[in-house]
C-alpha cells in the first residue's frame, strides 16, 4: 500500500486477527467433546505471511487432555486473547504513525 513497512504491518495485523479468531473458536468449543485446541505456529506463520502465504492451522496435542477428549485450556486462551489484542493495538498505533507521516507530507508539514 504505502510503503514496505505499512505493508508488513498490515500482514502482521491480518495474522493477529486470524489467530484471534482461532482463540475465539477454542473458547467457543471449551465444552465440545473430542475437540483439540487449534493454533497457528506464530513465528513461522509470520515469516510465510511476509512471503504472502496463508497461515496453516495446527492442532495442539501437547496440552493436558480432559476426560471427554477436549484439551482447551481457558487460562491459555485468555492469555492469548489479551496478548493478541495488545499486539494488535501496538501494530495499529505504528500504522497510525505511518499514516500520520503521509498526511503530514500531503499537508506540506503544516
Amino acid at each position: 500500500m504505502l510503503d514496505p513497512i505499512a505493508n508488513k504491518l498490515s500482514q502482521y495485523m491480518d495474522l493477529l486477527s486470524a489467530r484471534q479468531k482461532l482463540v475465539a473458536t477454542n473458547i467457543a468449543n471449551v465444552d465440545t467433546p473430542n475437540y483439540r485446541t487449534q493454533d497457528i505456529d506464530f513465528a513461522s506463520a509470520l515469516q510465510s505471511a511476509i512471503n504472502t502465504q496463508t497461515p496453516s492451522i495446527i492442532e495442539r496435542d501437547d496440552l493436558p487432555m480432559k476426560t471427554d477428549g477436549n484439551n482447551v485450556s481457558l487460562d491459555r486462551e485468555s492469555r492469548l486473547l489479551a496478548e493478541n489484542a495488545l499486539r494488535f493495538n501496538m501494530a495499529s498505533n505504528l500504522m497510525k504513525s505511518q499514516l500520520r507521516m503521509v498526511k503530514s507530507a500531503i499537508q506540506e508539514g503544516r
Binding site: A18, V23, T25, D31, Y35, K96
Partner: protein, 145 residues
C-alpha cells in the same frame, strides 16, 4: 473480514452455552415431575455440542467465499438420559402403582448446579473474547482518523 467472522464464532459459543443453561434449568425445574407427555416421570436432558468447523476443504473454501461462519460451536441435539427413576413409597399419590410406589425422575440437582456453573463460566469466557475482538475492530477503525 477475519475479525467480523470471529465475532460470530464467539456469538455461537454464547448461544450454545445459553441453550445448555436453559436445558439445565429445565432439569432443575422438573426434578419432582412425575407426569410427562411421553408417560412416566421426567427424564434428564443433556445438550450435545459439536464444533462447527469446516470438515473438508470444499466446506472451508465455500465458507470463506460466502463469508459465512466457519469455526464456532453448535448445539447438535438435546438428548434424554436413561437414568433409573427413583421409587418413593407414596400410596396416596395419584400416580402411585398398585404397590403404592411413585416413580420420580433420577435428577441429581447438585449435578445440574455444577453444570450450570460451567455454562455460566463458558458464557463469560465467550463474552470476554467478543469484547477483545471488538477492541481490535475499534482500533482498526481509529486508523482512519
Amino acid at each position: 473480514m477475519g475479525l467480523f467472522s470471529a465475532l460470530s464464532v464467539s456469538a455461537s459459543g454464547m448461544s450454545a452455552q445459553r441453550l445448555r443453561a436453559q436445558v439445565l434449568t429445565e432439569n432443575l425445574a422438573n426434578a419432582e415431575t412425575t407426569r410427562t407427555a411421553e408417560g412416566g416421570p421426567y427424564r434428564r436432558k443433556a445438550v450435545v455440542f459439536e464444533s462447527a468447523g469446516a470438515s473438508n476443504e470444499f466446506d472451508a473454501a465455500l465458507a470463506s467465499a460466502t463469508n459465512s461462519m466457519d469455526g464456532g460451536v453448535t448445539a447438535r441435539e438435546v438428548v434424554l438420559e436413561n437414568s433409573t427413576p427413583e421409587r418413593r413409597y407414596l400410596p396416596g399419590h395419584p400416580d402411585a402403582d398398585k404397590d403404592g410406589y411413585v416413580l420420580f425422575p433420577g435428577v441429581n440437582p447438585a449435578e445440574d448446579m455444577v453444570d450450570l456453573m460451567g455454562a455460566s463460566r463458558g458464557f463469560q469466557a465467550n463474552v470476554s473474547a467478543m469484547s477483545a475482538l471488538k477492541d481490535m475492530i475499534k482500533s482498526s477503525i481509529d486508523l482512519m482518523r
